[in-house]
Symmetry: C2
Subunit: 321 residues, 2 copies
């Protein structure tokens, strides 16, 4: 596999390419949260992005770079999460076919969302093996281009555009944070931030129950998650070779976050900022709450990765605050 | 009672006065909601305002205009809602006393919020009579200035500043909407919008179960609500003399909204825009959903009045969308 990472210039190119199709999301802050945390925190709200997550940036960057010939054969992926919806919508925008392999156990809502963008859905048993072999079949049948959710040059470059906008809008940040799962977002974020200002710190937030990136950095090699357990369901995946390389080169620290602090951070943001964020997005703030040291009094940018959450299944009872 | 209404100039003065203390809230839109509604809708997000509601604008405008002598004696009101928190916080900003009469049945959270701003709380039985006579006592005891939640020149001028910002940020609006309860917000909104552009339409959204403003306009005199029933708990109050006058002079139409359409609109905004709005704030959009006619294809500004909602007590099960 080619381990070439995108540069800041590649991220800027991606931004020019996808700008007509994405939302330039706002940066919000809360005086109450700043007071509580003792730092000035700027939240880049990708929960307001198309399909409710940053994933639309990378998917759009990938789809818009296909050759006419490739595009006529369409794109495919296997996913039950935000990447599936993002790729389906990006394909719809370019008016090309999308083929999405989903576990038959996926919630009906998610299937509907993907189908709503006109993608063709293939159901399979809910195992990685079943997903991969079904995907293989579909690729042979259709000739579509497989778009991995994070371990790709164009996906990483696209995800980096959120940090590019954040750093354009807010000057003088000391620290930028994003959650780490497969690593597409933190890779793009860290390349962008260090490219603009080599002195800026970049930290990833990771759930204690899915700490493969933390352990991989310590070990100096990829240590995949085994049976990860966290409510941050966007962060269950493990680093790929490309994202591991990006993290190793550009991320200063990975800070861990307990489930309790994910809830605390999510609750703070919902209650004080009146915005809906998914548990994965609460991990960086939760990691700050959990680990005092090094960030107090600083200007901190946090990428809020998404807002797709089952509202009926909240991990807290907000009424008793 | 002096029935002098603020002018556009008074609203601009109020804006200069309160700007150092309030948030300039963002204006958001959703391509999905626009597609669903067949109009271009701009949401002025007062759910992001201090204390989570537009009420902080009017309260700040009232508090900042007190003479030094008045301010030393403090301010008071009776309320269990957003106005109590807003007045308490505005008083705290000016560092003057606030006396809040609250029904003993008020949720513990609301008492805590008001107390958190340093206000002195007086509990009373949960009847209007008990609230008013307790307030009377407190005013005699303290000499504080009573700040009515809506039927005041300075409150109306302050609430109008949300529309002022909206119309500064978004040009070419055909229609502006806000919910109507006591009428402070719609009064300020309508005076501001008509002052800037006499051709702009101003509509109020009102729950069917609390339709006193609708009936009052039809009758040409104030017809107070009797036992109003709606989940939009910010809209249970009836127009006052001053707000009735403002509505009669400046509001083109009052459009009613069923409980079902409040839920539908609230759900749309939560799910599609990822922001937390209270039921009262969903009433204008709900009224559009309920009453096709006159707004399709237009550019519409809607003031989202607040985001203070008991998250554990949602009127819908979002998972089955």
């Amino acid at each position: 596999m080619d381990l070439k990472l995108p540069s800041l210039e590649d991220i800027k190119d991606a931004h020019r390419r996808i700008s007509p199709f994405i939302h330039r999301t706002p940066v919000l802050k809360s005086s109450l949260i700043n007071k509580y945390m003792g730092a000035e925190i700027f939240f880049k709200c990708e929960n307001f992005q198309s399909v409710g997550a940053f994933k639309f940036r990378g998917a759009t960057n990938a789809v818009m770079q296909l050759s006419p010939e490739e595009s006529s054969r369409g794109v495919g992926t296997h996913s039950s999460g935000n990447h599936a919806a993002a790729l389906a919508k990006a394909a719809a925008v370019r008016d090309i076919p999308a083929y999405i392999v989903m576990p038959e156990t996926s919630p009906e809502v998610k299937k509907k969302a993907v189908a709503g963008y006109g993608a063709k859905i293939y159901l399979c048993r809910p195992t990685l093996d079943a997903r991969e072999s079904k995907m293989e079949e579909v690729m042979i049948e259709t000739g579509c281009t497989f778009v991995h959710p994070y371990n790709r040059f164009d996906i990483i470059a696209g995800q980096g555009t959120a940090a590019l906008e954040l750093l354009e809008d807010i000057h003088g940040l000391d620290l930028v944070m994003a959650p780490v799962g497969g690593g597409g977002l933190i890779s793009g974020t860290s390349i962008c931030a260090k490219g603009i200002n080599p002195d800026i710190k970049v930290w990833a937030g990771e759930p204690e129950g899915a700490d493969d990136a933390y352990r991989s950095l310590q070990a100096g090699k990829i240590i995949p998650s085994v049976n990860p357990q966290t409510m941050a369901d966007g962060l269950l995946t493990s680093l790929g070779e490309l994202t591991f390389k990006a993290v190793r080169e550009n991320v200063d620290e990975i800070r861990l976050c307990s489930e309790e602090n994910i809830v605390k951070a999510m609750r703070l943001v919902w209650e004080r900022m009146k915005i809906i964020i998914e548990p994965s997005s609460a991990v960086p703030l939760g990691a700050l709450i959990q680990n005092p040291g090094g960030w107090e009094g600083k200007r901190i940018g946090i990428i809020i990765s998404g807002g797709n959450v089952e509202l009926s299944d909240l991990p807290f009872k907000p009424s008793d605050i």
